[in-house]
Structures are given as C-alpha cells and as structure tokens.
C-alpha cells in the first residue's frame, strides 16, 4: 500500500523541515519526501494544501488508560482510539492500574493489549512495588521488557530515602524517574488550589508548596545521585522557578505541563463542576503566567495531557467527593493551537517540538517524533484553522470528563497514520455520523 500526502506544509523539528512538499508512505514507513513526487504506483493520493500541516504523530508521555482494572473508565483500545482522534501516535501509560504495572507479566500484558491498537503504547513501570513506596521494582528487567520510565504517579515517592535509591538505581539503566511531586501531609484533604478561590468557595486547599517542596527535594537528590528526573504535570510558579534554576545549573531534569494548567485557572472551579478537579489542581493566574513563560523559554520541555478518565457517574458528585482527573487526548492539540499558535506565542515548529519531538527524545522513543525517509510512518495531518466545538459525547474515550467541553477551538488533526495505517480520519468520522 502506497499513500501519497501531496502538497502540504511538512513540519519536523528533528530534521529542521518546514516546507511545502509531498510525503510518500509505503507500508509502515516513510518511503520518500520531496517536491512533486511521482504518483506512479500510488494506491491513494491525499491532496492537501499549503494551509494543512503534515507533522510527526504527537507523543503524550503521561496518560492513564486504566488497563487493567477499570475498563468502565477506559481501555487500551478506547484510549488508543482517543489518542489517534487527537493526532497522537505514541503514548506512555502510567502504572497506577489494578493491579499495578510493577512486574514483567504486567508489562507483557500491556504490550499485548497495545498491539492490536496499531499505535505505540509504552509502559511506564512503577518505581516501587504496588506503589507502596517500600520496595523498588526490578527496573533493569522491566526496561528489558519495554518500560520506558518509572513512576509512582498518582502518588509521590514519599520517602526521600526511597527516591534516592530509585535515582541511583535507575541511573544504571539511563531511564528517568517521573516525579508526581506532592507532599501528602501538605496535601491534606485539599480539593483545589489554596488561594482566593478556595477561600471564596469554601473548599479545602492544596497549597503550591505541596508540589514545590518535593520538586526542591528531588532536584537536590538529582544533584546528589546523578539520576534523572522528569517532573510530571507541573502546576505552580514555585516549581517552575526551581526547575529553571536546576536547568541553568545543568542538572538532568526535565518537566511537563498540561494544556489545562496553561489555559485554565482556579477561577474555573466557581461552578463546582468536578470536571475542573484534578491533582495538581488548576492554580492561580500568576502560576498560569509562569507556566506559559516557562513553556516559551523551554524550561517546560513537554506538553502532556495527564489523560485521566473517570466515568460520568463518578464525576456526578459534590466537588469534594469526586475523583481527581480530566481527559485530554482529544482536545490537547486544539487547545494548544488555539492558545499558543493562533496567539503567536509558539510557531508550528516549537509547538510540534513540545508535543512530539522533545517528549520522544526525553523518553527515548526512537520511532517517534520525526519525519524522515525510512522512519516509521507515524504521521498526523493537521488543519490548524478548522474551527470545532468540543462535544464530549463524540469522544472516542470512554469517559467525558473534560474541562474544555463546549469550548470552540481552532485547529485539529484531520488524519492520523500509525505505522502507515490510517487509523483516524475526520472525514470518515463525520460521514459515519450521518449514517
């Protein structure tokens, strides 16, 4: 099967490409790139315009597919369908499932579940067995079977001594520890950012220091051990400033933030809608401003969604009783294009860098984040000017818990190829909808 993507703006930060050209997919790889490629022997030509982008498939290094254990919220299949609908072809799944991904059989289970989806699903294995913070997992063996990083995400590695050992040990395998930065005692029974709005709304607050004290601790542990930390879902200005300093010192730390921290604030909790509840919480205006600046400066390396599905029943609760988490795979690109590309804060190359190339580099995913002849054909076609309204009922995800519901966004993926297979096409979605 040969598919020719004709006449679009091809953008790839890794190879420094940004020009109007054609791209030929042959079976699972990119066979040719260049101007006016021949259509001889091509099975399908997708004629595009210079206003459409052909980009490397997006990479989300922080998703929860709830597999195994909570197929009511999401499955590997539904999660993957949501991913391709959002332009993603590679995701890293967090290990806080039931049971936890902390052993070889669990890694094999996941990889087996991932295979039929056609996209790259990389397991992040637990740092400690059962996420209990007591005993380290067999990191070397887990890496050999496919783990790309280690994390107890959903909770922190509470003991500094355990984090120290994990950093020392993971360093041998050159894999990062993904840090969910939270001091449980400072977290208390908090349900939203501690600030003006938690006072007004009468809800227990999660102070910013709850995150930043652990960021500070782990930066010191990185300095001491030489291990590598990737900070997950950074939400506060204090954390940004600590990470900025650590990077200036040349310490091996990287960081991600989410589309919701960049575009929403704690003021959004005023209707007590649990779809605005997550951990870390939506923080204040000045936190948001610091995150935006850090993304522009490169202090924040990566956009990740922290896609955390929960059923509508679980979210139909009083705000303080509802579970933490929001989904993001199907809105991430639209939100980022609307708020960063269309506002001129990031150019297309920079945007694709933080949503594809850079996360692939940090998590060492050689088959992702690049458009090159011979590379795996993981590709998204993007119409950056297509306006659409977020309707959770049309989501591929099994869950509906998005804080972006009802928003009109500008730009989205219209086609997604993984290993040369067209797994998502907006056109066929829409024609199906009319059937």
């Amino acid at each position: 099967m040969k598919i020719l993507l004709q006449g679009a703006r091809v953008i790839c930060p890794t190879s420094n490409t940004d020009s109007i050209q054609d791209l030929l997919i042959e079976e699972s790889v990119i066979a040719q790139m260049g101007e006016r490629l021949s259509t001889d022997g091509v099975d399908k030509v997708i004629a595009l315009t210079s206003d459409q982008w052909v980009i490397p498939g997006l990479v989300d290094v922080h998703v929860h597919f709830r597999d195994p254990g909570n197929s009511d919220k999401e499955t590997t299949a539904s999660g993957a369908a949501a991913a391709v609908a959002g332009g993603f072809t590679s995701v890293c799944v967090m290990p806080n499932t039931t049971p936890v991904i902390d052993s070889t059989p669990m890694i094999l289970y996941l990889l087996n579940a991932a295979r039929p989806t056609g996209i790259q699903i990389h397991p992040i294995a637990a740092v400690t067995k059962g996420l209990l913070g007591e005993e380290m997992t067999a990191m070397g063996t887990l890496k050999a079977h496919g783990a790309v990083a280690f994390s107890d995400d959903g909770r922190p590695v509470a003991k500094a001594s355990m984090m120290r050992k994990a950093l020392e040990y993971s360093r041998m395998f050159d894999l990062p520890i993904v840090c969910h930065a939270e001091d449980c005692s400072l977290f208390g029974n908090g349900v939203m950012h501690e600030g003006y709005y938690s006072t007004v709304l009468g809800m227990p607050g999660i102070p910013s220091v709850c995150e930043s004290v652990i960021v500070a601790r782990d930066i010191e542990l990185v300095r001491y051990t030489g291990g590598r930390v990737h900070f997950a879902h950074v939400s506060s200005k204090e954390s940004v400033s600590l990470i900025r300093k650590a990077k200036e010192e040349g310490l091996p730390v990287t960081a991600e933030t989410t589309p919701h921290y960049l575009t929403l604030t704690d003021a959004c909790c005023q209707d007590y809608d649990p779809d605005f509840r997550m951990n870390g919480p939506l923080r204040a205006d000045d936190d948001q401003a610091a995150l935006i600046q850090a993304l522009i400066d490169g202090v924040i390396d990566v956009i990740a969604t922290d896609h955390a599905p929960h059923t509508p029943e679980e979210k139909a609760m009083p705000f303080d009783c509802a579970p933490n988490g929001v989904i993001g795979l199907e809105t991430s690109l639209g939100v980022m294009l609307t708020n960063f590309y269309h506002t001129g804060k990031l150019n297309p190359t920079e945007l694709i860098q933080v949503m594809s190339s850079r996360p692939a580099e940090i998590f060492k995913l050689p088959q992702a984040g690049r458009l090159e002849v011979g590379a795996r054909a993981d590709i998204a076609i993007v119409d950056p000017n297509l306006e659409w309204t977020v309707d959770p009922m049309t989501f591929k995800s099994k869950s509906r818990n998005t804080p972006f519901k009802g928003q009109t966004l500008k730009g989205r993926a219209t086609h997604t190829f993984a290993a040369g297979q067209l797994l998502f096409s907006l056109e066929s979605e829409q024609s199906e909808a009319f059937c």
Partner: protein, 360 residues
C-alpha cells in the same frame, strides 16, 4: 395559586424572644420599602450574589412575617398547597427546625428528609434524590450538606424547575444565617454603614463568617475577622474584610462582636494546640468587651455555643448585650421570607408591598 392577601400580616406587635427593651423588629421598620416584584430569584444559594436591593426585600418581608410569630395562632395560608422538603445531610437542630417552622407557619406541607452523609457516597446521587422529590411534586428543597457547592450544582441542574434553598453547604455559605444576622443587627443599628463588626473564631471552616462578610459589606459595614493564624483562610481580606490574629486589635472600637463556634476537632487536627490556649487568647469575656469595644457593643453567636470556650457564660446571658435569642427568632422570619419570595409569583409579591407598607 392565588395568595390570600388577607393572610399577609398587616398589624400586630412583635415581642416574641424580645428580652431587652427593643424588640427584634422594632427598629429598621422605617426604612424605605423596595418593591418585592423586583425579586427574580428561584434559589437562595450564595450570599455573595445578592444585591443590596434583594437583601432589603428579604429583610422587609421578614419584618412583616415576623409578626405572625407573636400571634396566638401562628399560621397563615400564604404557602398553602406548596411542598417544602428539608434535606439535611449534616446534623442540625436549629436550622432544620427553623426552616420547618417557617414552612409550617406559612401553611406549606413539610417533609423532613434526614440522611447521613455516608449514604450519599454509596447510594443515590444528590441529583437523583432531588429529581425524585421533584417528581413527587416538591416545590422547594432546603439543603444542608457537608460539601461546599452542592446547592449550586443542583441549581445548575434544575434551573427554575425546583426551588433550592441553601441551609449551609460545607465552608461555603449559609445565606439565611447571614440574612438573619443582618436583620438582627439592623434592628438595633438601623444605619449599619461605617459600623465595626468583628467576627471572632474559626474563620477557615466557617460558612457563617463568609455569609456575614458579603452581606455586611453590601451595607457598608467595616468588617473585621480575628482568629489564630492557622484558622484564617488564605486571602480572606480579598473578600472585603480586615484580618487580625490579635483579639485586642480586632475588638478595638467594635460596635458588634460576632462569636463563632469553636469545634473540638480543630485541636485533634493540629490547627490549635489546646482549647485552653484558644480560650486564653480569643474567648469573648466581659472584660475584653469592656476594655476594647464601644460601650454599647452588641454580641452575637450563631449557636450552638461552647460556653466557657469561645464565649463566657455571663456574656452570653447578659440581655443588655447579647442578641443571641433575637437571632434565633429572626431566623424563622428570614426563612419564611425566603420561602415566600422564592415560591411566589411576581404578581403575588407586588401585592405584598401594599401590606408591608401598611404594617409600618
């Protein structure tokens, strides 16, 4: 439904719960009346959203309804045929009783629906419960819940289909308490503007403090709060008050002191070291009132009181000083007013104005 206009009290002397020389409603009656037809609300959920005009409508309506409480037969047919359900997911005696009596004095049918908070988590959702009640013909639900925001969530869901009255949600708001406190203060200090009102105690966990700050600010009061630093919420001053940790500074020149209940669990959760230490630094005593406040200072407490902890017994019992029982009486009148305003039609409300005018 047609309101029986004659059911609206137009005369009578109010003296229930009136232990001091001036009754709960005697003053403030000469304030200009606002046309109650301007009332547009179906819900009473958060104090912060009330306009001064809306508050005045509630207060003047409460004043006129208050007279019913002094009658030998405390019943008018105003809300005959209406159904009010008290949904209390948190323990309460005075507020649930107050709402229940308010509904019954107005001849509404009342159901008390008591539920333990735990059943919320494992059982039916609040919306389903309320939907069930609405399907049975309920007109208004009165909700007390430990989770902030549940009334807002219900109002967002039901719109105008069901009247939602907040009887206290989490630490968020307790609008009827704020309104009854305002009515009580206004009965003694008709001009609230510029008066110093000091709220003392656990501000962090207090919906009463939040309601009072918003409503008192609306009428130009100078609101101060005082608590140990661990019981002051972040950015409380942005609500429009001045925060203190030293009781002497807070009480200085106070016209009204509002004392909050100090819960025992604040000690076990590590927010204060000991009740005795709290009492030592924050208990409202005669000596503190006399030394720092205006000579004719007024004392309030939303109840239930911990005598000897946040308030000295002789302060609570001093009728020249304490408005505590007036607060309780006014609470019934305020709740009658809100039930009436939220359940009546604009035409019915415009009829009311005439009678409120007559009662002056």
């Amino acid at each position: 439904m047609t309101t029986n206009a004659s059911s609206i009290p137009s005369e009578g002397t109010f003296n229930v719960g009136d232990h001091s020389s001036s009754g709960a409603f005697l003053l403030g009656q000469n304030l200009p009346l606002v046309d109650p037809a301007l009332w547009k609300r179906r819900h009473a959920i958060d104090s912060a959203s009330f306009t001064a005009q809306e508050v005045q409508i509630v207060l003047q309506t409460a004043r006129s309804f208050g007279h019913i409480l002094s009658r030998p037969i405390k019943k008018v047919p105003t809300l005959r045929g209406k159904v009010v359900v008290n949904m209390f997911y948190e323990n309460s005696t005075r507020t649930s009783t107050s709402f229940a009596l308010a509904a019954q004095y107005l001849s509404a049918d009342l159901i008390n629906f008591n539920v333990s908070t735990s059943s919320v988590k494992k059982g039916e959702s609040l919306i389903d419960t309320a939907e069930t009640l609405a399907a049975m013909g309920t007109d208004a639900v009165v909700i007390r819940h430990s989770s902030s925001g549940v009334c807002q969530q219900l109002a967002n869901y039901f719109g105008d289909r069901l009247c939602i009255l907040n009887a206290g949600d989490g630490y968020h708001d307790h609008p009827t308490q704020g309104l009854l406190d305002l009515l009580t203060i206004q009965s003694r200090l008709p001009e609230i503007s510029g008066k110093k009102v000091v709220i003392v105690g656990d501000i962090l966990h207090s919906r009463v403090a939040r309601s009072n700050i918003y409503l008192l600010k609306l009428f130009g009061a100078n609101v101060h709060v005082v608590a140990p630093a661990t019981l002051l919420p972040v950015d409380i001053e942005r609500l429009g008050c001045t925060a203190h940790t030293k009781i002497e500074e807070a009480l200085d020149g106070a016209d009204v002191v509002m004392c909050l209940r100090m819960q025992l669990e604040r000690q076990s959760s590590g927010l204060i070291p000991a009740m005795s230490e709290y009492t030592r630094f924050y208990c409202i005593t005669k000596e503190r009132l006399k030394r720092h406040c205006q000579p004719n200072v007024l004392l309030m407490h939303p109840g239930p009181m911990n005598r000897g902890i946040e308030i000295a017994s002789d302060v609570a019992d001093d009728l020249a000083l304490s408005l505590i029982t007036n607060q309780v009486t006014n609470g019934v009148a305020i709740r009658m007013a809100l039930l009436y305003l939220c359940l009546s039609t604009p035409t019915e409300r415009s009829v009311l104005l005439r009678f409120q005018g007559d009662s002056v």
